[in-house]
Symmetry: C2
Subunit: 277 residues, 2 copies
């Protein structure tokens, strides 16, 4: 069995301390969660930065603090920076983190493959913006994390491949269960997984309550899973139990153990994705 | 076999006279195409207005000219007005056509169920905008034409149903083949059709070259098809043959005849959808 890639998304843009006290917001909190979860088996880290008020920010200086704090202890981990445009629509803002250099440069950065609606608002990623971000990543040697929320985003990835804007192997993150995107069903997951281009490495997650099931499906049928409080704050909503990032990673590890699936180390994932050591 | 609903989309927002001389732009041209195509069997008419320069416009005065011209000859036809926000983002603009009253009021209006990317640009339909448009339509007694480009938009329709914002029977238009949405494959069409809520009446089309195949699939498996130059300007791209709206409707009629499927009259569709006679 191929080794499982565990991609941790510890923070995201939405959860606040009011929503869950377990959400890491301050760089030091994020670094602490990341180091603990990676000691358990997380190899890729999808980070979002927050400002001193706890609000999402695009400023590369805050990303730099998080990245240097992680790399001081674990230079092997694969760091994926968010380029989300939900709160910052301009290219200059979204690509700020791509300007970090040397030891601070992220290994990868998120590239959402279309515009979509979340529960409260639209997330606009125009064709031009996607292509500009892809070009900038290619120029900087930062590998895109291709974010797919619905069928058509896979098709758009194929279009970017045809245009030479992204290079193999393609790392896809399939996020199911958003209100206006594909749902966490076996049919939808199956159709999306089966439509990926050759040379794809794919990670699966469910948003909210379906994170557990989609992580389970990912352990069985995908190269990896994405897990963390960005996508789901509950360990058990029925029992009103909030999760920590460690709880969620632990659950994935238990599923993998129960299915006898080994966990990939960060260096093994680097090799698989063709990233520098 | 249930009678087939033919929904004609004669104009759209993109084609110009430079792209195809057959595109009806001026109200008189649109009226002429509509009357001819409805004499062949089109019962629903999805209209977009253009200004005197041929550019898309939201102004209800131009919609009024088209609607009165059609109704003078064919008051039975079901008229669906576009509320597209691709060029006009404000609610006041998008809902302008919903303010027409009496004999000028459209029977239905388009409601696209999420934000999405087309080839050149994003089409932003935020959750707030969708809900505002749905409320306005409900208040005015205008039935929504639910536009679905990808899986998740069906889920959002279910959310609107739960919120009481749209009423049965639900009229869905499934448009496949957009660059960043679901493609014109049997799997994707099948999954979307099978995920529709109960009490749905569904029409199918493919954008561009796949219009023919998706119309064929619609004749076999759906309640209706959408057809017209808005979605596809070619009769045969290989032979470099541009289509007219009549050509495209004729092709649907031939497919239906060959499969022995009868065509629904406008009054039969009115009854099916619960629209006033």
């Amino acid at each position: 069995m191929k080794k499982l890639i565990i991609n941790l998304a510890p923070t995201g843009m939405i959860p606040t301390k009011e929503i869950t006290p377990h959400i890491p917001i301050h760089p030091q909190e994020i670094i602490k969660d990341v180091l603990h979860c990676s000691s358990m088996g997380a190899s890729m880290i999808h980070i979002h930065a927050r400002d001193s008020k706890g609000l999402p920010t695009y400023h590369k200086e805050i990303y730099a603090k998080i990245i240097s704090g992680i790399r001081e202890k674990r230079p092997d981990l694969i760091i994926v920076a968010s380029t989300s445009g939900r709160n910052f629509p301009e290219f200059k803002q979204r690509s700020d983190v791509l300007q970090l250099e040397g030891d601070l440069k992220p290994d990868m950065a998120s590239l959402t493959l279309s515009s979509l609606n979340f529960m409260q608002s639209a997330s606009v990623n125009s064709p031009d913006m996607i292509m500009q971000l892809a070009k900038e990543m290619k120029e900087k040697g930062i590998k895109p994390e291709l974010e797919v929320f619905d069928m058509g985003m896979v098709n758009y990835a194929k279009y970017l491949i045809k245009k030479g804007l992204i290079d193999p192997p393609y790392y896809f993150n399939i996020l199911l269960g958003n209100i206006a995107s594909a749902q966490s069903t076996l049919q939808e997951a199956g159709l999306i997984l089966s439509s990926l281009p050759q040379n794809s490495i794919v990670s699966l997650t469910g948003l909210g309550a379906s994170q557990k099931e989609m992580n389970g499906l990912g352990v069985i049928f995908a190269d990896g899973v994405r897990v963390g409080l960005e996508d789901n704050i509950w360990l058990s909503k029925e029992e009103n139990k909030l999760a920590t990032n460690s709880n969620l990673v632990e659950r994935v590890i238990k599923i993998a153990n129960s299915l006898n699936r080994p966990i990939a180390s960060a260096n093994e994932v680097r090799e698989l994705l063709g990233l520098d050591n």
